[in-house]
Every structure is written in C-alpha cells, then in structure tokens.
C-alpha cells in the first residue's frame, strides 16, 4: 500500500521532468514576450518526430543521434514559429499572436498526421539496463535516464541564463524591454534566440517523452500542451523555478492519482486543481513580486 504509493510517486516525479521542461519553455517565452506560445508542445513533439525521421532516413539507429537531431529540428521549428507568429504581428494585438500560435499548433500536428497516417511510431529508449532497487522500490532505468537528461538540460539552461552574454540580454529584455534596448540589446535578436533555445529544450523534452512512453503519436500534442499550461500556471507565469517544481509536482500527483483512480479521474482532478489555482491563486506557487515601473 505505502510502497505502491511511493512507487507511483517516484515514477511520476521522474517522468515529471518532461513536464518541467515543457513548462520552462512556455514560461521562458512568456517571460520574454509576455505572450503564450501555444504551439510549443506541438513543436516539441514535431521536433522529436523530425529527429526520428532524419536519423532513420540517413539509415542511422543511434538513440543519441535521434535525440540530438530532435533538439536541432525543434530549434529550427522554434525559429519559424517566432517569425510567423511573433515577429510581424504588432504587439498591440495579443489576440492575433495567440491565435496564430494555435494555427501553428494545428499545422505542425497535421503535418505529422499526414506524414505518419496517425500511426504511432516506436521511439528508441535512451538507455537500457537493469533497474535499480531501493528496498521494495524499483527505479526504472529509462525513467532515471529521462530524469538525468532533464536535470542536465535545466542545468545547462540555468548556466546559459545566468552566466552568458545571451542570458544577460534575455533576462534584461524580460524585465525591462525598453531599458534593454537602450543598453544596445537588439530585441528581435534576443527574442529569436529565446525561441531557438526553448525550441531545443522542447525537442529534448519531446524526445524524452517518446523514449519514456516508447512511442510517439500526434495524439500526444494536446494533452502535452495542456500539461505545459498547467505547469506554467501553477508554477507562476514567467518563473523558471516554479515551472520545475510544478512539473515534478504535477508528474507525481498525476501518477499517484492514476494508480488509485484511473486515467479519467486523474485528468479530472488535475483540471480541478488548475481551475482552483487560477481562481484562488492566479499568481501560481511562485507569485511574481509586484510589478515595478
């Protein structure tokens, strides 16, 4: 009983890293642009598909290569999304941008459907090995690998944000875009770079999801988009630590509920949680400090 609870919690938290990554992508773009990119999860899954297709077309089989190509392809998709949905739509029309990213979501999703006839494709596991036993607790090696890759990606991102020139510029733009321009930071270039970086992150997340589920399907896109939004909202819009914690939380919460109550009720409670959060704590867990002028 207790051990079942722990087991589902651990599994959920490990896989929750993928939610964290998707949430970081949403939140980072929101931080910089103050807009939501709803095509993000579809671009991530699309990137994961591209990785598989590109490596497969070249006759390769290496899972590592698939991962790298997925990340690269998703970075390119991120740039395309920036150009179509953000770069040229005036800032005074947030509705237009939001809807445009929805169009992008449909577009990417449908290209995948047409390219694969909606048939789920097998995804290579990144690591196969014996599972680790901690007492009665089993830690699945592929989940552990997903967790490790997720943590590594977050670490690299943190270093990039806090130790690089691009990171300085990104933070400057997200906190005070006018002053950032006055410092000589080119807004469009930083925005585009943010989309590429979050795209790469999403590609890694997409490939991780493929690897942990064992396959990819276009039907993953909508639930993943919703999960990403949930993580972003619960973590607090614009907060990266918030997204990380919320991702792990939602992953664990969801898996435990699934174990006890089944998939439909699980989703029901997750949605209820989201609704309650929005109504009673719209700032999320890590509510941003009051805005300064």
């Amino acid at each position: 009983m207790m051990i079942d609870f722990l087991q589902s919690l651990v599994d959920g938290v490990l896989v929750g890293t993928t939610y964290s990554l998707i949430g970081i992508g949403f939140t980072l773009i929101f931080g910089v642009m103050h807009k939501i990119n709803l095509s993000y999860a579809s671009a991530s899954v699309g990137g994961a598909y591209c990785g598989l297709l590109l490596v497969g077309a070249a006759g390769g089989k290496s899972a590592l290569l698939v991962f790298l190509m997925a990340a690269a392809a998703a970075g390119v998709i991120g740039y395309v999304v920036y150009l179509t949905c953000f770069r040229f739509i005036p800032a005074s029309h947030p509705l237009g941008t939001l809807m445009s990213t929805v169009g992008m979501l449909l577009l990417i999703d449908e290209i995948v459907v047409h390219a694969t006839f909606g048939v789920p494709v097998a995804y290579p596991p990144l690591y196969e090995g014996p599972s680790i036993e901690l007492g009665e607790l089993y830690i699945r090696p592929d989940y552990l690998m997903v967790f490790a890759v997720g943590i590594a990606a977050m670490t690299v991102l943190t270093l990039l944000l806090y130790r690089s020139r691009l990171g300085l510029a990104t933070r400057a733009v997200s906190q005070q875009p006018v002053a950032a321009q006055l410092c000589g930071i080119a807004l469009y270039r930083v925005n585009a770079a943010t989309f590429v970086v979050t795209g790469v992150l999403g590609g890694i997340a997409g490939a991780m999801i493929g690897a942990s589920v064992g396959m990819l399907s276009p039907l993953l896109v909508l639930p993943l988009t919703v999960k990403g939004l949930i993580v972003t909202v619960i973590g607090g819009l614009g907060s990266i630590p918030g997204a990380i914690v919320a991702g792990l939380m939602v992953g664990g919460f969801e898996n435990v509920l699934q174990y006890y109550r089944g998939v439909t009720e699980r989703d029901l409670y997750v949605m209820l949680l989201l609704f309650v959060f929005l109504v009673f704590r719209p700032g999320g867990l890590f509510a941003a400090k009051s805005e300064r002028n």
Binding site: R165, R171, Q175, V178, A179, Q181, L182, C183, G184
Partner: protein
C-alpha cells in the same frame, strides 16, 4: 554634436512633436525644459530610435540617426538615462551595469569601468550584489546613470532625472551631472525642474505642446518666467 532638425513624431494621428529643432554642443550641458505632455520624452525616444519620426532628421556627429535601431544608436555613442530609470529589477546592481556594457567586447576594459563607476557611486558599490529592485529611488537613478555610462557614450541623454526624488537627492544628481560634464561627457537633459536645470545648463530650450518656443542661455529669460512656462506652459500655447 547632435542636431535635431524639424522632427515630427506621432502616435497614430496625434502629433506629439510638431517640427522640433534643437542642438546639443560638444562638451556642454544642454537643457530642454517644458511641462508634462510637451513632448520631451517623445523627443528622447525619437533620438534614441525607440520611436520612428514621421519626418525630420537627427544628425549625430554629422551622421544621420533616423532609421537606425536603438542598439545601432547606442553603438554610435549616444546613451539615454530613461524617465523613471527603468532599472532591471530582478538583476543585481552589478548585472545592471554589465548590461549597460552589452555592446562592448573587452572584459578588461569593462571591469575597469565597473570599478570607476563604483568609485564615483560608492552607494552602488555597497549594494553591488543586491537586486536593483530593492534600491531606493535615488539609488536607482544613480544606477541608471551609471548603466548608461557603461556604454561609454560621447553624448549622454537624461530624461527627467529629478522625477520623484527628494530635494537633497535631486541636488546630488545635478552635482553628478555637472561632474560628468567636467570630465568630458556632453549632456542633453530634459527637465521640468527648471530651477535646478538652469543652474547647470550652458544652453536651454523651452518646449511647449510639441514646439520649441524659446532658445537661449540661462539669464536671457527671467527665471520666474522659465519656471512658469516649464511647469504650466505659456498662455498662448
């Protein structure tokens, strides 16, 4: 050094600048005085490329700035201390200054300038690791000035540096302005506080409702009248 010729800037149909011509001389402090809504901030934003003028020219050291992006204009040697300071609230004081030096590539020079800023603004040194959002208004103003200086501008634009600050702090800010100018930085200042501005300025303009209505040196116009027009605008508009 800076020549603004007949600039018109509009927000949609509304013209905030209706053909403004001003100039800032090298090595001098030039001051633009005027009431709220006269177009002072609009002019600053137009010069720095944040707004695109409908027509007119802006020449800096003989080169046209109109059409350049803000970052290209910073690279030419024009830096603005914006209205309300606009520091990066969740970045440390040191990072704010590093952001100011964003376009410069030599770490050693940047480090030297950082030391120089801390020397000039000891308060900032004390708070180097603190988030800028936690600073007081006066400290934020100093940080904004220091951040602008980190790009090594030849012309420093300042938009209402005294706004919302206590009188003692305002005096300190203007002392720093005079000091910077003595050390060789040309300054173009926009203010509503005519009393303080006239003390440091070599040349001043009055701007009212998007038009320059007076140009001369301090003393050419009675201070009372300048103050009156800088706060309220003249009756004839």
């Amino acid at each position: 050094m800076l020549r603004v010729g007949d600039v018109v800037t509009a927000y949609g149909q509304l013209e905030a600048l209706k053909g403004v011509s001003v100039a800032a001389e090298s090595g001098k402090i030039t001051c633009l005085l005027g009431p709220n809504g006269a177009g002072k901030t609009t002019l600053m934003m137009t010069v720095t490329g944040l707004l695109k003028p409908k027509r007119g020219s802006i020449a800096f050291e003989g080169q046209e700035l109109v059409g350049l992006s803000p970052s290209e204009i910073v690279a030419r040697g024009v830096a603005l201390v914006p209205e309300n300071r606009l520091v990066f609230p969740d970045m440390s004081v040191r990072e704010n200054l590093e952001a100011g030096a964003y376009l410069r590539r030599k770490p050693a020079e940047i480090a030297a300038d950082l030391d120089r800023m801390f020397e000039r603004f000891p308060r900032l040194k004390e708070r180097a690791g603190q988030s800028a959002g936690t600073l007081s208004g006066g400290e934020q103003q100093m940080l904004a000035v220091a951040r602008a200086l980190m790009s090594r501008p030849r012309l420093l634009l300042m938009d209402e540096p005294s706004l919302g600050l206590a009188p003692l702090i305002v005096e300190e800010i203007f002392r720093i302005v005079a000091e910077l100018n003595r050390d060789g930085t040309s300054i173009f200042l926009v203010e509503q506080n005519a009393h303080m501005a006239l003390k440091v300025a070599h040349h001043f303009y009055l701007i009212e409702q998007g038009r320059v209505t007076f140009s001369g040196s301090p003393g050419q116009l009675a201070e009372d009248e300048v103050i009156q027009r800088a706060y309220l605008g003249s009756k004839r508009g």
